[in-house]
């Protein structure tokens, strides 16, 4: 596998942004992790100087355990056919970021969605607000602490008639007289992981 151009980009990035953690994931994929305040200058740098003109994707990942949101930007260089994945972590309690719609107008849409689904506030984007949902009054639904199964069970009617369903494991245990202790119960495939 020839990683020449990927390594070249990595070198260029490191020379300009010393704090950037650059990893060549594979052919055509470079992952850059960066402090959140360096993201806007980095993105303009990538767009203007490194030919990453196409913003392919803009995503958000909830790392609930770390109490962080991770913003992920995917930029594509049509000249070199390389994708640059730029990642940064922001605080989950008071998630804030700046808009990058001046660099790519379609970023506005992504920011609207991330705002709605995760509750991240994008400074400078004046179209935040209702986008996909309507009259939503719960937690932003894509947050991992929002439980969709519970919400659906509470808010929507489920057709009755299936109450006679039985658990295979329990049926067998009942028949054989096996007593499954509580500490073992959580190791059953049949039960959802906590």
């Amino acid at each position: 596998m020839n990683l020449e151009k990927e390594n070249k980009f990595a070198k260029q990035i490191n020379e300009t942004f010393h704090s950037a953690v650059v990893k060549v994931q594979r052919e055509r994929r470079i992952i850059v992790e960066l402090r959140s305040d360096l993201i806007p200058p980095f993105l303009s740098f990538a767009k203007e100087y490194l030919s990453f003109i196409h913003m392919a994707h803009y995503s958000c990942v909830d790392w609930l355990e770390e109490n962080k949101f991770e913003l992920v930007f995917m930029l594509w260089s049509y000249e070199e056919d390389v994708m640059l994945i730029v990642k940064t972590k922001i605080d989950r309690e008071k998630p804030e970021f700046v808009t990058i719609k001046h660099l790519w107008p379609q970023a506005e849409t992504y920011e609207r969605e991330i705002h709605e689904m995760y509750g991240v506030d994008f400074k400078g984007n004046d179209r935040l607000g209702e986008f996909i949902l309507e009259d939503w009054d719960d937690l932003p639904p894509m947050r991992r602490d929002f439980d969709t199964v519970k919400y659906a069970g509470e808010h929507y009617f489920t057709r009755p008639g299936r109450e006679d369903a039985q658990d295979v494991r329990e049926t067998i245990a009942r028949h054989s007289g096996e007593e499954i202790p509580d500490f073992a119960k959580k190791y059953s495939i049949r039960r959802d992981e906590e």
């Binding site: 949902l133 309507e134 009259d135 009054d137 719960d138 639904p141 929002f146 969709t148 199964v149 919400y151 659906a152 069970g153 808010h155 929507y156 009617f157 489920t158 057709r159």
Partner: protein, 181 residues
């Protein structure tokens, strides 16, 4: 003088025949099931053989085809569409997700049982239902009309309170005109 009862019966028969023979479907693809409507309507399955064709506006339509799941946002529009339709009007629930949620059973944004919010005359099973199944659904609806049993609209009027209550449970901001037909 002709017996009123007889006359009514004859009128009913003629009326039901007319109703069943021209089912115009409001062109509202509410969900993914809409993808099997074009094949049903076009040359391969040619639903026009049964007098089924599309209608651009709800006012001229007889059938509201709920093609699959309804998000709460769409439900609001669908109710509005339905209430604008004039009698006779029928609702067909299309696909598993109108029956008990289908594969979106745990989604926070879709309703699970259509008959709680709108009076459904016929349910078609499938995900998606093939054009043959769609046509079977229409044939079933025609049979019900012929027998005078497709009275969902009547049910809706009679139980409007109950339907409204259910609808309001999921539509949080009820800003809709009342179409009182």
């Amino acid at each position: 003088m002709i017996n009123d009862k007889y006359a009514n019966k004859i009128v009913d028969i003629i009326q039901n025949f007319a109703r069943k023979s021209s089912l115009w479907v409001v062109a509202y693809g509410t969900g993914c099931g809409a993808i099997e409507i074009p094949p049903t309507m076009t040359s391969r399955y040619d639903a026009e053989r049964f007098g089924i064709r599309g209608s651009a506006t709800p006012r001229q339509a007889d059938v509201l085809l709920i093609t699959g799941y309804l998000s709460t946002k769409t439900l609001k529009r669908v109710i509005r569409t339905y209430e604008q339709m004039q009698d006779p009007k029928y609702v067909i629930g299309f696909g598993s997700c109108t029956i008990n949620g289908g594969m979106y059973w745990d989604s926070y944004n879709t309703i699970k049982a259509l008959d709680q919010y709108l009076p459904v005359d016929v349910f078609i099973n499938g995900c998606m239902p093939r054009p043959e199944a769609v046509i079977s659904g229409f044939i079933k609806l025609q049979e019900l009309i012929k027998e005078g049993k497709a009275n969902g609209a009547q049910k809706y009027k009679e139980n409007l309170e109950w339907y409204r209550e259910n609808q309001r449970k999921v539509i949080k901001n009820w800003k809709m005109p009342d179409y009182n037909w």
